[in-house]
């Protein structure tokens, strides 16, 4: 088992004929992901190394049986691409694109919640990897092996850092989910942690948050009431000054709101262990796993 992507995943890539889209899409196929189609309007009938390209996501669903979409198109077209995938009946859309206007995401988010048929992960995220099963996105899979740690994060490289430290201590992952660094993302920590709680392969959950918004605080409440598995947290951005966007569009301390200290405190108040740095997170997680083994 794993969550969200696995051997049942039939992937269509929006933007497969682009440079990034083809590089990562084919990389995902080499990992073993069942890449069934690409979509580029006007290039229907062509193929990318044997992967058929369609004009619309609807065609990719009808002709190739796609059930998962990865969006790799430029920011100004991304909201449209997500909505097209949802309209075509795709169950899971993973949006890698960074730089989508926040108001676009507000409308997309509200629409998807209302129709409640499509789960969106991202945007501005590295994707989802279920080691030994499927990789959808840009996560460098060679660091990760199968195991019991469910990893969910707002950041890409920080996830690789923590995942790699766990791997060095001999622990693998059930699934790694990048939820994205934008102010409005399709899936929250809570959405993903709820999946990990249900997943038999996941023994322990690591969540990796950062400054901005109040998702981590809400998650702390949720964990206290709903999660039986151990959760270890990390929060980045203790040294971030207020009012400055730290790389990710969503990583900003507004006035006194969204600080790393407040998030760590909220999590600890609910009994979630918070590591001070990636190494400590891996140490604490290893101890917890060793105890339960």
């Amino acid at each position: 088992m794993a969550i969200l992507v696995d051997s049942e995943t039939k992937l269509v890539v929006a933007g497969l004929t682009g440079r990034e889209g083809s590089f990562h899409g084919l990389n995902n196929r080499r990992y073993g992901t069942d890449l069934v189609a690409g979509v580029t309007p006007g290039k229907g009938g062509q193929d990318v190394e044997g992967v058929p390209v369609f004009n619309t996501v609807h065609d990719a669903v009808k002709e190739a049986g796609a059930n998962t979409a990865m969006v790799f198109v430029p920011p100004r077209f991304a909201a449209d691409s997500i909505l097209e995938a949802a309209d075509a009946g795709i169950e899971l859309v993973i949006c890698i694109t960074e730089g989508i206007p926040a108001h676009d995401m507000l409308r997309v988010y509200t629409h998807l919640k209302r129709t409640d048929a499509t789960r969106l992960v991202g945007p501005n995220c590295p994707g989802i990897l279920s080691p030994a099963k499927a990789n959808v996105g840009i996560i460098p899979a060679h660091f990760f092996s199968e195991g019991g740690v469910g990893l969910v994060s707002r950041s890409g490289t920080l996830t690789y850092q923590i995942g790699n430290e766990l791997a060095q201590r001999g622990f693998g992952n059930s699934t790694i989910v990048g939820i994205g660094g934008d102010p409005v993302v399709g899936s929250s920590f809570i959405d993903v942690i709820a999946e990990f709680e249900q997943d038999p392969e996941t023994e322990l959950i690591v969540m990796c948050g950062e400054i901005g918004g109040d998702e981590e605080e809400r998650t702390a409440e949720y964990i206290a009431d709903n999660v039986s598995k151990p959760v270890i947290a990390y929060i980045a951005g203790f040294t971030a000054p207020p009012g400055k966007t730290m790389g990710h569009a969503g990583a900003i301390v507004s006035g006194s709101k969204g600080t790393a200290a407040a998030k760590a405190e909220a999590l600890e108040a609910k009994g979630v262990r918070v590591g001070r740095n990636p190494t400590e997170v891996a140490d604490v997680a290893s101890e917890a796993l060793a105890r339960s083994a």
Binding site: I100, R114, G212, A236, A240, G247, H248, G255
Partner: protein, 406 residues
């Protein structure tokens, strides 16, 4: 991206939000001409992206040409909490019957726009909340339905504003909401929202933050990039397309990925040091990109050591090493570098650096060791809080306290 008051007001005017007559000026001469044209009395207002303008003497009432000239000359070039005044806004003075507060904010928690109205304007939001927690009426708007007349009525009644202006205030809120949506704003704030002696409703202040990711569809706003008060390193970085934030320490930082860089700043602080900057090189590992980034970091004279923290995912450590070697060849570098390469092709990268024998470059394998080493090499950080410009506050914070000064 934050707009200056007059830019916010011009944006308001485009969407039918009523504002007092006014003109922007960049010289004393222009300001006086604007005042003559508007008719006295006028208010001369410093245009900087920071609150507290009134207290700093950046907002003055002028009842005649003489005073206008004197005030304009005093305000232009003035330093307000680290921001130099390059522009003035000359506005026809308003008579004040009531001061309210109105705002639309992008509520990322609720994932909806939130409209706010209070009858207690002219002070900071926190101050309003402190004086009377019930004084701020708040309402979320469904982004797919939009602002309706009933939203305006509910807010007006809940906020307890004067009955004779309920209709015009509701109309103003509707236009403010339109401006928020159509301009891709993250914040539009009017504090104070004024009711004049003859019961007209006008926006006396304008604080507007727009989404930088949406500028491609707002050509008019995109041209307004306010470099006045922008930190010189931050401007240099922006012009080179780098994601850089200036901080006040002495350890220069470069990493790949926003989360990893934030984490790097934190471990430097944990090791007893103070980071000089945030710089996310993203996937950039080419020699030119690294040379660019190093130049920006070293243009900050406070930097006494530099920490490179790379975890190679898609980025290959050997490419980063080659980039750094080339950068050292083309730049005159006198401060020590600590380089941590881990991840994809890390061994090759470390070997390349070892073979190149760069002067004063220290290679470490782990993030924590690298941070400690960099802090040790950087020496004592500069005194706390030394000349760091105060950042403009984010959503819902610090409305200009001088707003009631007129």
């Amino acid at each position: 991206m934050d707009l200056l008051e007059y830019q916010g007001k011009q944006l308001f005017a485009r969407h039918g939000v009523p504002i007092p007559d006014g003109k922007a000026a960049t010289s004393v001469e222009n300001a006086v001409a604007a005042a003559d044209e508007l008719g006295y009395p006028v208010v001369i207002k410093a245009q900087v992206l920071i609150g507290g303008r009134g207290k700093a003497g950046g907002i003055k009432l002028a009842k005649d040409r003489d005073e206008a000239e004197r005030h304009a000359a005093a305000i232009i070039g003035m330093d307000i909490r680290g921001f130099t005044v390059h522009e003035l806004y000359v506005e026809k003075a308003s008579d004040i019957a009531e001061e309210y507060y109105a705002a639309v904010i992008f509520d990322r928690g609720a994932k909806k726009p939130m409209v706010m109205l209070s009858r207690m304007g002219g002070m900071e939001v926190e101050e309003i909340a402190e004086k009377d927690p019930n004084a701020m009426a708040r309402l979320h708007v469904d982004p797919l339905v939009g602002f309706q007349a009933f939203h305006g009525r509910r807010l007006a009644f809940e906020a307890g504003i004067a009955e004779d202006v309920i209709r015009p205030v509701g109309a103003l809120l509707e236009r403010l909401y339109q401006a928020f949506i159509e301009e891709d704003a993250m914040l539009v704030e009017v504090n104070p929202l004024l009711v004049t002696g003859d019961r007209k409703v006008v926006a006396l202040e304008a604080k507007v933050t727009v989404d930088g990711n949406a500028l491609y569809r707002h050509a008019e706003t995109a041209e307004l990039r306010n470099s006045g008060g922008e930190d010189p390193q931050e401007r240099m970085a922006r012009e080179r397309g780098l994601t850089y934030v200036k901080l006040d320490g002495n350890v220069g930082i470069l990493g790949n990925g926003a989360g990893l860089v934030m984490s790097t700043l934190d471990v430097v602080a944990q090791a007893g040091g103070r980071p000089a900057n945030f710089l996310d090189a993203g996937g950039g590992s080419k020699a030119e990109e690294i040379t660019n980034a190093v130049e920006v970091i070293l243009s900050d004279p406070k930097v006494t050591a530099v920490l490179f923290n790379i975890f190679g995912g898609i980025t290959r450590c050997d490419e980063v090493a080659n980039g750094l070697i080339t950068a050292f060849g083309s730049l005159d570098i006198s401060v020590p570098f600590v380089v941590r390469l881990d991840g994809t092709n890390d061994e090759d990268g470390r070997k390349l650096l070892a073979d190149a024998v760069l002067p004063n470059v220290h290679v470490e394998k782990t993030m924590l060791d690298a941070a400690s080493r960099a802090v040790e090499l950087a020496g004592d950080p500069p005194p706390e809080g030394a000349e760091q410009p105060g950042p403009p506050a984010g959503a819902g914070a610090s409305a200009d306290p001088e707003a009631g000064a007129e």
